[in-house]
Amino acid sequence: MADLITPDLVDLDLSATERGEATRSLAERLQAAGRVTDLDQFLADVRAREAQMPTGLEGGIGIPHCRSVAVVEPTLGFGRSAQGIDWGAADGPAHLIFLIAAPEGGGAEHMGILASLARRLIHQSFKDALLQAPDPEAVVTLVKKEVLGQ
């Protein structure tokens, strides 16, 4: 199985100011890395999930996500926005954006990794470390350590 996240899937300086735009720029990284086959399909599936209820959460995080036929491997795209992007949370914009892509027919092993990733997201220490990460490599190392215990 390919790594959950690699440095080229990390954007520590998201220029986008709007949900859809930010999602697209991260999704393009996933496509460039060969993790997503059909960008439009993938974005439509993410939008469909956002339409059910925005995925922004208190504490400044947004977690756009979907299960999609356009996804090859379970993948995390990570973006950081200094000015923040409105993600529908009650307490303000999101600074940490986690784009979680799950393959449609993903097995229990795949889904288990994404589940433990999701569990880490509520820990303040994890979020603080991501806010302070100096470079993409540091993000990758941090995620691997926290989520996979590597």
Binding site: Q41, A44, R47, A48, R49, A51, Q52, M53, P54, T55, L57, E58, G59, I63, H65, C66, R67, G88, A90, I100, A102, G106, A108, M111, G112, L114, A115, S116, A118, R119, R120, L121, I122, H123, Q124
Partner: protein, 515 residues
């Protein structure tokens, strides 16, 4: 204190687990024991029954129906959205404490000998009498959830049955239907098959395909109604729901009748589940008492209260149409088309179709052509809409859209039911408008059909086939455009509803700094 919790969310890959982690953390910080069942994509490991029995309180943090919720029946319950568990877990745990202390007797859940009264357990459902909460918007979402559950179980029946029927027409021509079920086609009268093991000899392999397809199709409304009731009341709802659907078939109430029947069955079962009964009877409640009483009640309602007015309305509509026969042909086509698109195989549709059959029997082919064109439009229009605006439709609906092309082309109007049952208020106007336009145009073009069914598979029996096609294409474009517009409006509105509801949920102050 001991707590058990279930978390679940629509996609099952993120919020489910975040909520579980947040609840575990908050419970531990407050000095409680907690077991969380994550009903997500990684598979749910069920909380052992022993833990449920020992639990003082139950927390449901779920945006979709909790599976097998009857396991938790009778426990003090706190129910909320998955988001609130993530954002506000400490307060949620505090509420669970309050719920537990409000129901001290039930909480211990020990088999107190002859004790009888088990305190006042919170009913195991979100519709509970406690009031409060999100009000109308929350109920709307819940209703949508029930309907979607029914629809998602129904779609495979629509696809499998409909495609087999279409293949029957493809290989057997328009005569395949009367060969199996009896009737007149092209002047030849066929006897219905009575011994169905003879179907291959009498109607060929195409007849067999048709028979299997039609049988699968006959389960469409019962499955819809059964699983709507199941979503509402869990297992006790299944029998009354399915029977309500079968009776909707019998009294000709169509999918709208099934939808109403399923909701009634679910509501009745839910009410009975919540009845407080002496402990001695508790054991037979779910297996004997609830299915028996709920089925009897909903059956009575379906046959007597719903069935009779429908039959009367059908007679009235038929008389009215007969009175119109002499007047403007285009207007008649429009009306028949609107009726075909209204309930998609239900009572009103049947009146229009039967009117077409009667006209055909008396030698008028134009009415039949209009009825057929109008009946083909709804599935085709929705299929087109799912291609043009994927994001307005759920995954299940997009799959139903793929089958709907073939079903529409075969004049199987029921192909549109999954869409209409999930969102009747936005879909039915679109299927009516498209059907009306196609029916009126077919009449205006003076197209005719010598076949009573079969769609494009009987194109050889259509008079002015190209103009007839044109009528269908314009009709389906109207349907697709209208459903896209209505869904886009509704989408935005329901988004706001949801956000408003989220706002409501976090209103009841008492927010302390969360960890």
């Amino acid at each position: 204190m001991k707590i058990v919790a279930v978390t679940s969310c629509p996609t099952g890959i993120a919020h489910t687990y975040m909520a579980a982690e947040a609840l575990e953390q908050a419970a531990r910080n407050a000095g409680h024991e907690i077991k969380v069942e994550t009903q997500g994509a990684a598979g749910a490991e069920a909380v052992p029954d022993a833990d449920i029995a020992a639990a003082d309180a139950v927390v449901f943090a779920a945006d979709v129906e909790v599976r097998n919720r009857e396991r938790f029946a009778g426990k003090p319950l706190v129910q909320t959205s998955v988001k609130r568990a993530i954002n506000d877990a400490p307060n949620l745990i505090a509420e669970a404490e309050a719920a537990a202390s409000a129901a001290p007797v039930a909480a211990t859940a020990t088999p107190a000998a002859g004790g009888g009264d088990a305190g006042r357990p919170v009913p195991p459902t979100p519709t509970g009498g406690g009031g409060g909460g999100g009000g109308a918007a929350a109920f709307g979402n819940q209703l949508r959830g029930w309907l979607m559950t029914g629809v998602s179980y129904m779609i495979p029946f629509v696809a499998a049955g409909g495609i087999l029927i279409a293949l029957g027409f493809l290989f057997g021509g328009g005569a395949v239907k009367p060969k199996v079920y009896g009737g007149t086609f092209e002047g030849v009268t066929y006897q219905a098959i009575t011994d169905f093991t003879q179907v291959v000899q009498k109607a060929g392999w195409a007849g067999l395909l048709f028979l299997i397809g039609a049988t699968a199709f006959s389960m469409l409304v019962p499955i819809l109604a059964g699983f709507i009731a199941y979503a509402m009341a869990d297992r006790p709802g299944l029998v009354p729901g399915i029977v309500a659907g079968l009776l909707a078939n019998l009294v000709g109430a169509g999918f709208l009748g099934g939808l109403v029947g399923g909701l009634l069955a679910g509501a009745i079962a839910l009410y009975l589940v919540r009845l407080k009964v002496p402990r001695a009877f508790a054991g037979i409640m779910p297996v004997v008492f609830i299915p028996l009483v709920a089925t009897l009640l909903v059956g009575f309602l379906m046959v007597v209260v719903i069935g009779k007015p429908i039959a009367a309305a059908q007679t009235g509509l038929t008389n009215w149409l007969n009175g119109l026969s002499g007047s403007n042909a285009v207007l008649l086509g429009l009306l028949l088309g609107l009726m075909m698109g209204f309930d998609l195989g239900g009572p009103v549709n049947k009146v229009a179709y039967t009117f077409g059959l009667a006209a055909l029997a008396s030698g008028n082919t134009q009415v039949m052509a209009a009825v057929m064109a109008a009946g083909m439009v709804p599935p085709l229009g929705l299929a087109l809409a799912t291609v043009l605006r994927k994001h307005l439709f759920s995954d299940a609906e997009r799959k139903a859209g793929e089958a709907a092309w073939l079903l529409g082309a075969s004049f199987i109007t029921e192909g549109a039911i999954p869409f209409a049952a999930a969102d009747p208020i936005r879909v039915v106007p679109a299927t009516m408008a498209g059907g009306g336009v196609a029916g009126a145009l077919s009449m205006a073009f003076k197209c005719g059909s010598r076949a009573p069914h079969g769609g494009i598979w009987v194109i050889g029996l259509i008079e002015k086939p190209l103009l007839w096609f044109l009528a269908i294409v314009i009709g389906l474009a109207v349907s697709a455009a209208l459903v896209i517009v209505l869904k886009s409006l509704g989408h935005r509105a329901s988004d706001e509803e949801l956000e408003a509801e989220m706002g409501d949920a976090s209103l009841p102050g008492r927010r302390t700094a969360t960890a």
